[in-house]
Subunit: 355 residues, 2 copies
């Protein structure tokens, strides 16, 4: 289906200046992509000026959190062109998340139209310094005005965009969260849905008071094993091997996680996808057997972990950033920013639209 | 603080007709109460015409489900006056829910102003047939436009209202949910937050295909015990005693549950608040030791359960509705609708505002 481009889009884009200090996810591009779904039928996609949404006060998203989202980036390559990173993976994950909350899937073609269109029109807004990008946020919300607890009959899909720096830059101090849980066994932990994030805020608030940055969530069944961070997957280098928790049903499969595993294999690292028992890990850090740990995600790429704290002890990692984190970060960014050969076929060029 | 009444409120209310077929939560009153909170400071409350909200596309509520709500009712009493049922309990629970998601509490006085004001101005819209009421929906959402996963700095509190019938009327067929979980140990199950409801929709969709109405959720740790329904608490009559699951951390403490326990004690029932093991319960139903079961909640009051189904068997309750469900429903409704003495001091009269 063709995409409708609102005549005001050109006006909005011409009048927009990228702020000097980017931050992450605060400066919003002046346009957005939108499509609506009524009783299972999707409308034409349209690119329109960024503006507040009008949402009925009784809409399902406001009461029952019927919402899911994706995070992805458009990169400016070394050659100056614009490219998306594995957008079909985001389309597939959003379809999975939508299904978990009884929402209609955004068709892959519509999803890709959305992210490509906004990247093409916002090509001039994609910043070009190392680690910078145009962060894209596709999201889907249930909009039916009806207070019964049931799936919405109407939905709106948007893609908004934000010229951004990398999310976390420095080293991170993690706190082992043994009190709260991010997700239940049989819950929504493997889907990218709003409720997972709302429930994690209290933990982060508590640990910030103790001087930590992020929660390290454990598996909900017996809280003996590492699951993930609130929005990033976990990796550790133990006896020279790269370990990451196997997908457990309560872990969100990160696209960066998936890509790093492929990349690490190519770079010759020994990989172990399996259980990481938290108590074992902490003693391995204390004894120096675990030399480095890091988290990864679209927004942050790779964030080295300097400390993992617990009720009893604070465990300092030997190296932060360590050589594996540095090597993988470089290798991934080199592909994303077009300095290295894209052997995996991950990058999808976008033709800028000039107006 | 005084409440601002928008001059358009009178116009909206005069032009409004209560629909003939009420349903539940679909017909919305033409006014709403609103207050905003910026960096911890609450604005004056205002009563304004019901209208779509304008919400920034990057608002926290749309992405990270920072939202909580309450359900309560304004009743028309036998004498024709209007009364609220234990509104301070809803204020307290909403404060608890807000805290769980790092949101500021709505001050009790503002919460009560909100529900009283909308009930007073909508007095003419409160339907008067048995079981009917003006359903009130207070809710709080995080509105800051910022894509970082962190608590919002700005919030909006609303109370909307809907002239309604009771939510469920007939007998309910429950399905024992052994696959999905409603909440995690250490999750948000004891708070009234959107994410709990979004995650429950898939289960309900599945069981409806099998001819059932509602999920019976088990405790998340080992799924051996009954927790609750998606939006109602569970009761069973076993060997003549009234059993309900003790609050476990993953059960939402219903105000109807709390009230029924007090009422049942006054009516002379033997009460047991404790663990209800699902396998024991099913065999007690099969053997006739458990004679009736019902669910309760603000919206539905009391809904008898006729069948509890499981992978292996479908267990039919001996009586639906049973005598205990009928007696408690009558006793509670008689207080709420002003036919019986309010010995507990539960009802708070509201003076209608005429214009």
């Amino acid at each position: 289906m063709s995409i409708y481009i609102d005549p005001e889009v050109a006006v909005s884009l011409r009048g927009y200046e990228v702020p000097e200090r980017l931050g992450f996810g605060t400066a919003m591009a002046p346009v957005m992509f939108r499509a609506v779904c009524q009783d299972g039928c999707w409308s034409q996609g349209e690119l329109i000026p960024y503006a507040p949404l009008t949402i009925d006060p009784a809409a399902k998203v406001l009461h029952y959190a019927q919402s899911c989202f994706e995070g992805m980036k458009a990169y400016r390559t070394a050659a100056g062109s614009i490219a998306l990173f594995r957008p079909e993976k985001n389309a597939a994950r959003m379809a999975y998340s939508a299904k978990r909350l009884c929402m209609p899937s955004v068709p892959e073609s519509l999803f890709l139209d959305g992210v490509r269109t906004i990247a093409a029109y916002c090509a001039n807004l994609v910043p070009g310094n190392r680690g910078e990008s145009l962060y894209l946020r596709p999201f889907l919300i249930g909009t039916q005005a009806d207070l019964t607890v049931s799936a919405s009959t109407s939905y709106e899909f948007y893609v908004i965009a934000s010229p951004s720096e990398a999310y976390h830059t420095g080293n991170m101090r993690l706190w082992v969260e043994r009190e709260d849980a991010r997700a239940a066994v049989g819950g929504t932990g493997d889907a990218k849905v709003g409720g997972n994030y709302a429930g994690s805020l209290l933990s982060v608030g508590r640990l910030k008071e103790r001087g930590y940055d992020q929660s390290l969530w454990l598996n909900p069944a017996d809280r003996s094993r590492v699951d993930e961070l609130s929005g990033m997957n976990f990796f550790a280098v133990i006896e020279g091997k790269l370990h990451t928790p196997a997908l457990s049903g309560s872990i969100l499969e990160g696209i960066t996680r998936n890509s790093l595993l492929k990349l690490a294999r190519e770079l010759g690292y020994d990989l172990v996808e399996g259980a990481i028992h938290i108590d074992t890990l902490l003693s391995q850090i204390a004894s120096g057997v675990c030399t480095e740990a890091f988290a990864c995600g679209t927004a942050a790429i790779i964030s080295p972990i300097s400390v993992i704290g617990d009720e009893a002890h604070s465990h300092e990692l030997y190296q932060a950033p360590g050589p594996v984190a540095k090597a993988l970060r470089e290798a991934l960014l080199d592909i994303q920013e077009g300095r290295a050969e894209d052997n995996f076929g991950w990058m999808q060029p976008v033709d800028p639209v000039n107006f």
